[in-house]
Structures are given as C-alpha cells and as structure tokens.
C-alpha cells in the first residue's frame, strides 16, 4: 500500500545530475513509506536554496517559505495542528547562517519536528560562496583568500543547547540515512539529522570521495552518554562519525502548552469549533 512512489511528483527536478540531494530525497521517500505515513498527514517546511526545493519533489503538504526561515512556520504549524507529522528540511546556509537564531531557539522549545539539514558546506543555489560549515581555507569567489571563520559545528551546538536527538548522516549512505530519518521521525521532540551532502558543482573540497573515505558508522556507542556524544560531535577530519550521537527524550513543547492539553487538547487547535458569543463574559473584569 505505502510505497516510495506514493510520494513522487511530476516535477522536473532542478538539481544538478549527480548531486547528493537526490539520495536524500530518495531516503526520505522510502522512510515515509516504511513508516506508512499518508502524504496528506505529513508537512514538509523548507527555506530557500537547492535543498529547500525539496517540497516540490515529494508529494506531501509543503510550506516552502523564506531563506533561513524554515523552522518557525513548522513550529507554528505544530501548534495549529499537532496531528501533522512535521519535517523541516533545508540547506546549511539556510539553517545555520540566515536561520541561526531559529535553530537555537527551536532546540530550546523542543517541538516534535524532524529536522534534516542538507549540509553541503557551501551555498549551492547562489553559486558557491562559503557557508557556516565550510572548512577553513576553502576558496570561493567571495572568500578569495580562503575561509577565515571557524566552521560551525551543528552537532556540538545542538548538544550544548540540550537537543534530545542529534545525528549525522551521509547522502551516500542512503540505507543508513533512511534509518536515521525514521528514527528522527519517530522520536518525540526535536530531532536533528545533519546530512553530509556532496555538491558536485561548487564544493570541490568536500567531494563524494572525500566524505566516503571519512565517514564511519557509529557502532556500540551509548546514545545516552552526553559527554561521549560531545566528543564524537567534535570529530572532523580523517574520521567522521555518522549515526545517532545522542537520543534522550524530554517533554515536548506541545506537551507543555496549556491550550493543547486536556480534553480540548485532543482536537487540534485548527479544528476546534468556535462561536464568538461564547466569550461575552470576558467583559466582566472591566466593569
């Protein structure tokens, strides 16, 4: 009944042939199918960039908003309709650059959102400027003397902020990535999967081969050990761990919002009946 085909669209895909984004799209379609999620019950929010075009290539509800602003609409949508399975997907520039502040504060909220970042360590759509995750020294048309800002480490940051689910994937390990996505989708609360994704057009440093040689699937790691997770998060270079670094649930944002609890809480906010006349009593305190 549920197959990845349920999630395909008729859109021509505008990514470069060979781009890592294709694998991520496929992993997502498979993950959704395996979790038996109906397209109309899933919402995918994205920003602007190559990665952020993804809502056009997968048949689920989509809110393709502004550059850097993928997270806030997703949080709003969760409040409005907590029966939607909400995914946020965008690029590294979008998420950690323009959208850095939302990244920080969404983690603090802990809404039930699966967050998949296509981290190609470069601005793809705008043709190759450094992103916050670009390696030191990388040359671009703007960073002509090489990147001088120290790379942003999303995993360390998420851990420092107390995120409950922190993982890293690689687009070239599609099966493994699919499992990460499924775990993130099933995790109750904010779940970050930072996905290493080769950009064949602009990132000549961190290529498919570069990643392939370095990524190492985590094995035997205790996902409840925060300090171990922090150490793994810092690993970057010859060996780059992929897998779930940390996974410890905590009460979600939604579970702490008064209006979403109790009897009324069983119906999503968006679907509750309403009649202005029921609130006439509001006037009493002013009399």
């Amino acid at each position: 009944m549920f197959s990845p085909n349920c999630f395909t669209t008729d859109q021509e895909i505008a990514w470069c042939p060979g781009c890592g984004n294709f694998d991520i799209l496929q992993a997502l379609q498979e993950a959704l199918a395996e979790l038996e999620l109906s397209p109309h019950r899933v919402l995918l929010c994205s920003g602007i960039g190559q990665a952020a075009k993804i809502p056009h290539y997968i048949r689920v509800n989509g809110f393709n908003g502004l550059h850097g602003r993928a997270l806030p609409p997703a949080v709003g949508a969760r409040i409005a309709n907590s029966s939607l399975k909400v995914i946020v997907q965008s690029g590294d520039g979008d998420t950690y650059g323009e959208g850095g502040n939302h990244f920080l504060h969404t983690i603090r909220r802990n809404p039930d959102i699966a967050h998949f970042v296509h981290n190609n360590q470069v601005y793809g759509l705008t043709k190759g400027q450094a992103s916050p995750t670009s390696d030191l020294g990388m040359n671009t048309k703007v960073q002509t003397a090489g990147v001088i800002l120290s790379p942003f480490n999303p995993l360390s940051l998420a851990l420092a902020l107390g995120a409950g689910f922190v993982a890293r994937g690689f687009s070239g390990e599609t099966e493994h990535l699919k499992q990460l996505m499924k775990a993130a989708l099933e995790f109750p609360g904010y779940a970050l999967v930072d996905i290493l994704q080769p950009c064949i057009s602009f990132n000549k440093l961190n290529t498919f081969a570069w990643y392939k040689k370095r990524v190492q699937k985590l094995e035997g790691h205790d996902t409840g050990d925060q300090e171990a997770a922090e150490r793994l998060a810092r690993q970057w270079g010859d060996k780059i761990p992929i897998g779930i670094l940390y996974q410890v649930p905590a009460p979600t944002f939604e579970s702490r919002i008064p209006a979403l609890q109790g009897e009324a809480g069983e119906k999503p906010l968006a679907g509750r009946p309403f009649n202005p006349g029921s609130l006439v009593h509001l006037q009493e305190e002013f009399m």
Binding site: Q11, P55, P72, A80, L84, H105
Partner: protein, 565 residues
Amino acid sequence: MEINILIGGAAGQGVETIAALLGKVMLRSGYGLCLDKDYMSRVRGGHNFSRLRIAGETPWCATGKVDILVSMDQETYFIHQDTLQEKSRIIYDPESFSLPQEEKRGVPVPLQRLAKEAGGAVMANTVAVGAVLVVLGMDTDSAEKLLQEMFAHKEGMVEKNYLALKKGYKEASHHCSACFSMPDKKIDEKRLFIDGNEVLGMSALASGCRFLSAYPMTPSTGIMNYLAGKQECGVVVEQAEDEIAAINMVLGASYAGVRSLTCTSGGGFALMVEGLSLAGMTETPVVIVMGMRPGPATGLPTRTEQGDLEFVLHAGHGEFPRAVLSATHLEDAFYRLNKAFYLADKYQVPVIFLTDQNFADSARSVPPFDFQRLNYERHLVEEKGLIRPYQRYRITEDGISPRALPGQFSGEVVLADSDEHDEKGNIIEDADTRRRMVEKRLRKQAGLASEMEEPTLYGHQEPDILLMGWGSTYGALRETVDNLGFQGRKAALLHFSDLWPLPVKAVSEILTSVDKSFCVENNATGQFAALFRRETGLEVDHKILKYDGRPFMPEEILQEVQKNV
C-alpha cells in the same frame, strides 16, 4: 461640567494604580470617563503621569487643563503647574516636599505616613484615592467595594486598605471637602472601563484568534499580556526569539488552519517586512497589529506618533494586495479588528491594523460590545466544493483561490510556495504563468476595495470647514468639531478607519465644496495627505502636524484651525 485629574510622579510611585482605582470608582458611580498615560522608557524614577477626565457622558480624549493635581513628587508640581486653574487643588505629601509659599491651592496629605499607619507604605496610593474622593465630595462606598474585590484573596489587606482610604479621606477633608461639584450622571447602563490594547486583545480572542506569536515591544505588549492571561480560553501565546520568528510562526500556524495574530511596533514590524511579502506570495491570511511610536529607530519608545502609515502601505518587496485598517476609538476598534481577520481569511492576504501608543494606552468607559456582530467565517473549501486534484493557487475571476488546510482532505496535499508558482504551487519560471499569477493576486485588491468603509461626515452636514484625520486622533478631532460648532462654525470631520485600499468617494465629493480643508496628523510629513493626493490628485489646504511624541489635545487643533480660517 467635567473634572480633570492629573496624577503624576516617578515611575514606580504608583501613578497608574491611583488612576486605575479612581477610574473604576468613577465608572461604577455612573460617570463617563477617559484616561491617558504619559510615561518614560524606564522602570523607576523620571516623570510619569496619567490624566483622568470625568464627565456626564464619556469624554473622547484628554485635555490640557487640570482640576486636581495629585503630585507624588515635587517635579510633578513644577512640570504641571501651568495647567492648573485658579480653583484647582494639589494633593501632595508635605512630609516628602513642600510647595512654594505663594502656592495656596495645596491639599497636604502625608501619604507615606498615613499609609504606614494603616499597615504599609505600599498603600500610599489608597490614601491618595481617599483624598481625591473627599475633594470631589464623593463618598467611599464604591472605592471600598472595589478594594474588597481586589484584595479579597490577600489576608488582611482589605481592612488595611479600608483604613488607608479613610485616613486619606479624613486628612484631606480638613483642607478641602467637596471643593468641586461632580458632573450630572447621564449613564445608567453598565459600562466597561478598558484601554486600547485590552479591546484589541479581547476582540482577537472573540474573533477566534487562537495563536499569537510576538516579541515584546511597546506599545503593543499589552495585547500579548492580555492574551497570555487568557490561555484557558484556548489561545496559544508564544513569545518568539525575534520578530522574524514571530511572523513566520504565525504564517505557519495560519497555513495550518488557525486564525493567527502578531503584534509589534515599528522596529519589530521592520523585521517582519520580508514575512509580510511571504504572506502576500503564499496568500496566507495574517493580521498584524502595528502599534506606532515615534521613530526613526528606537526613537521615543513609550510615546505616540502616526509616522508609519506610508511604511506599512508599501512594506514588503514585490507587489501584492493588502489591507490597512486603523484603530480610531475603542468601540470601532473592537469590530474593526474582527474585520481585519475577516478580510485576511476571505482574501487570503496580510492585513495590517494600525494603532499607536495614544490608542493602546488610553482607556474610556464604553458600553458593552455586541459579540454576536463578530464574524467567524473561515472561507475554507468544504468537501462538496472541492475540485480534485486540489490546486492551492487556482486562477479564479476574483483572484481568490480555494483554500484548504494541510491534512483536511485525504489524498490531497497543500503546497504553499514563496517562489512564483503554478496553480498547484510548484515553482515556475515562464513569463506567461508569472503574468497570470501576478494578475490573479492583484485582482483581490478590487475585492478588498469594495469592502472598505467610507468615512461618514461628523458635524455639520454642509460644512465650510472640513477636518480630515485617521486613527487615534478621532477623539481630539471630534471634540474640535464640536467646539467649532459651539462657536457657530460650520465644521465637520471625515475620519478614516479603513485606510487601504483608500475609500475616496466621500472625501472627493465634499472636498471641492468646502472653504478650507485640514488634514490633521500626528507626524511630521503629512503622510495621509500624501496618500490622499496619490489616490485622487487632490490636495488639502492645510496640514496640522504634531510630532513631539505627544497626542493632540482638542484645544491645539482648534487653535490651528482658527489661525487659518
């Protein structure tokens, strides 16, 4: 016959508490009243004041003259002495400071000491209320009832406050008892004593708004406070990390199906401008309450101005339809904010609701609102009206596409897109689709225009003098027209609540037949006059502009009009 009381002091001295207490006493005693606030951007110290105007009918705005000055510190006296009349009285604490020797109008009441005697220095405010009541020749019954309600849950506080009230009453009576006679009461029914932000909060709630995300900013924070206090009514209030998050959260919630609101002031609105454009492109309903204060930049954070009209009219890159409404007076604002939600939902556009500090922080006694008049139509596609496959941006004659919610229909998905898109919401690049989508969106502007309310002429129906205004200056302008009328002038007011699309019929017709027209605005450049000219080619004869951060007093406008007729 009216009484004007000004209560002044440093921030933290309880100016607002005294004003609120006195206001409620007057309300319950059947008087009409209004209250405004003047305060600094600090938490302690400086100089703040509240003005309470009491009359038989509810007055429309504050005026400049003062009958009773409650002077909580010496500075207050020096700042406001010019507003005093011969018969005015000054209530002050002689143990805290003294008045100049030649000042004979003082009513010394040792507020601090009496409060301490009653049980605590915090009750100095209650002492002052007692003093005011006796000076006005009122009894303390209503005040006692109020204290009872306020402190019922605080052990022993009711009694202590009674005592403080009585002490103030008694002490002041030695100096001046019933020095003023109260106006005749003309009001029988129940009234609310409520300020602008509270009216907007209540209207939002009663309009079915279920989500507010905002970042605190004067003068709109009161709306957030109001709604946050009403979460048991099923509204969610989320303080955002910044205004960008606020508008984008609200758009996400609206897309997913709830009536949503954000509120801010100029600086915060500036940060929402990109999101506004997103609302325009994705055709997501949203209402933004924009409380103006003097700019540019941080400006005067706690004061008032109408300086952002042109900004909100044109804010956002690209071209898209929007509506701009404004808050004129409390009764109107209650229904008009509901109209904002209605327009947003029906036309799937952003609606900006303009207020300012003057509106937000001013309270008046008003009759109860008619909640049944409020609209709660969501304009969503119903099962039977659904054309499959569902197209979020279907091109229609009136430009309004069928709006479904994500998850609403099995088998159908809803795609909102910030890029130019086709009817399904998918990115396009071709010239033809682009053109058709621009036209589709802009067609909604005509629908919006048809919903705009023409201003009705207040005052003389065949005027020589025409005043024009918009937003919170309504009260001051209305009183000016009344005053001109008393002087035998044929004067009238056209006051705009709906600002965009600008309803120009009434004014275009009358403008040519009047002798002198005046556009009165709380800004320095005459933004409404400019808009008016852009839309009609017509020019007003005079602009009366005020831009010192303070609201207009009717007497100031009167003077300017008289200079020019």
